[in-house]
Symmetry: C2
Amino acid sequence: MEFTKRLLEQFLTLAEEKHFGRAAERLSMSQPPLSQAIQRLERGLGATLLDRRPGDLRLTPAGAAFAVEARRLLDAQTAVVERVRRVAQGLEGDVRVGYVSILSHRHLPRLLRAAAEELPGLRIHLHQDSTATLVEMLRSGALDLAFIRDPSPVSDDLAVHDFASERIVAALPDGHRLAGSDSIALEDLRDDDFVLLNGTALPGLALQARLACREAGFTPRCRADADDLTGLLGYVAAGLCVSLMPEDLRGFPVPGIAFVPFRGSSPYLRTTVAAVRRTDADAAVHRLLDLITRHAGRP
Amino acid sequence: MEFTKRLLEQFLTLAEEKHFGRAAERLSMSQPPLSQAIQRLERGLGATLLDRRPGDLRLTPAGAAFAVEARRLLDAQTAVVERVRRVAQGLEGDVRVGYVSILSHRHLPRLLRAAAEELPGLRIHLHQDSTATLVEMLRSGALDLAFIRDPSPVSDDLAVHDFASERIVAALPDGHRLAGSDSIALEDLRDDDFVLLNGTALPGLALQARLACREAGFTPRCRADADDLTGLLGYVAAGLCVSLMPEDLRGFPVPGIAFVPFRGSSPYLRTTVAAVRRTDADAAVHRLLDLITRHAGRP
DNA sequence: CGACTCGATATCATTAGCCATATGGAGTTC
DNA sequence: GAACTCCATATGGCTAATGATATCGAGTCG
């Protein structure tokens, strides 16, 4: 039994009109083929749908039930078309997004809010991990999009889009001679003891910090190192060293530490990029990526 | 866009096999028409369903969504057929049943239980009213089946089926000289004061009680009357009169009253019949009516 | 580079679904 | 009972859906 739209439409019209002649007219056809279509329908269903009493056509209980179901089938079909089109256009769907922990502070909530407003049909699945793991997951198809650290080992099957560049600021202990300044120059710290990242966890930041010092014309005297930011913060708060950190941390006041920006053309840490597979044709991913690039670089 | 079963089946098979050749083989057709069918489907939907990369066919997000929806559409169609057939066979549906209050004591719960077990797909809508009103509702189509009193004004557009015959018993005050008997004869009460129904509420019972006395060879001396059974019970419990009542009431002991059956061929009150419209072809009504007649006459 | 795989395209035959006209037949009305 | 209403039946034409064969073209691999 095949339920074509035409057949369902014919039955529904007949169910409304309760008159073969009028229904046929509304359907722009003659009466006999309508009779036959309905008969085929009844044979196919194995049930009588109409109580044909002379001059008074009415639906049997089965016919009334089928009228309801027929309308549902029609609605379901158009709904399927709608849904598939929306998925194809990326207005509906699932996107698996990976990110490094730093992002969560400020950018991620803002992005999620914007996505929920602009692309309400998207379900975004979040996964936090290290840059290296995220790249691997992205390449293997376990993720669709990832916010990762740059510089990082990005092969050419991935396309990257600049997302957020954070400036480096100085982290000084409260008692430091420059702790009260509005801004300083990096070379003002050439004679200070530094604590820097050793590069195991955040290689990008560790590298950039050293590069910035070299550009400023000195090699930082490293009194200590640490493998994550909280370690750095501990050393600085103890008053033993100064350090360089992403400006993001200024939003989280740490007792005993002053974050002071650099003057003029200060060293940048180009931190976060959004990466996707070059071959990925998923429209939802591209819509999300578009939204991300439009939100890139904002504070 | 028309979703024939064949087309959905073709897409689903292809979605499983991810290979045009193998899918065509499983569908007992050659590969080219399958390609064309899928292309027509994609054009009709206005969306690309397959990612055709050489040697590795995969579904696009839209294709994956459509695969889910296609399966749902197929299931929905077969479910519709099933449902319509069940309604046509009377295994599913709505039946509006009217009944007179007496019935509710014992028969109605039993019937509903049996119906729920034997015809679980039926939704039974209950309505209690007087015999006259029920007959009118039945005829006008507001009810499908009614348990009514007999004798009653049943026109020949209704078909009636005997359902329950209740015997008349004597209701005697506890102190009555026959209150302890196992059974008595109606003429034993010829000199007692009676309280009987005046016929406004339960004309059948009122009439039958008087007919029974006439058959026993006497006219009951009516000291009082009442328009319902509780009125009768009050008079009897007060010790003022005896009365005649349906034996149903023996199940509800009333303080101060003894119900005593009549000996031998005691007078019957043929109380309740199930009535339906003769022209009604509703299979659910007939199934229920069949169940009712099979349960007729049981205690 | 040549064979192979796999999907797309071109062309054609068959069928059956759909609708039209003409007619039949039951029931109602005046 | 004659005209009318209304649905069913009979018959025929047309279109469009369906699938088969043959071929092409891109990509892969030894």
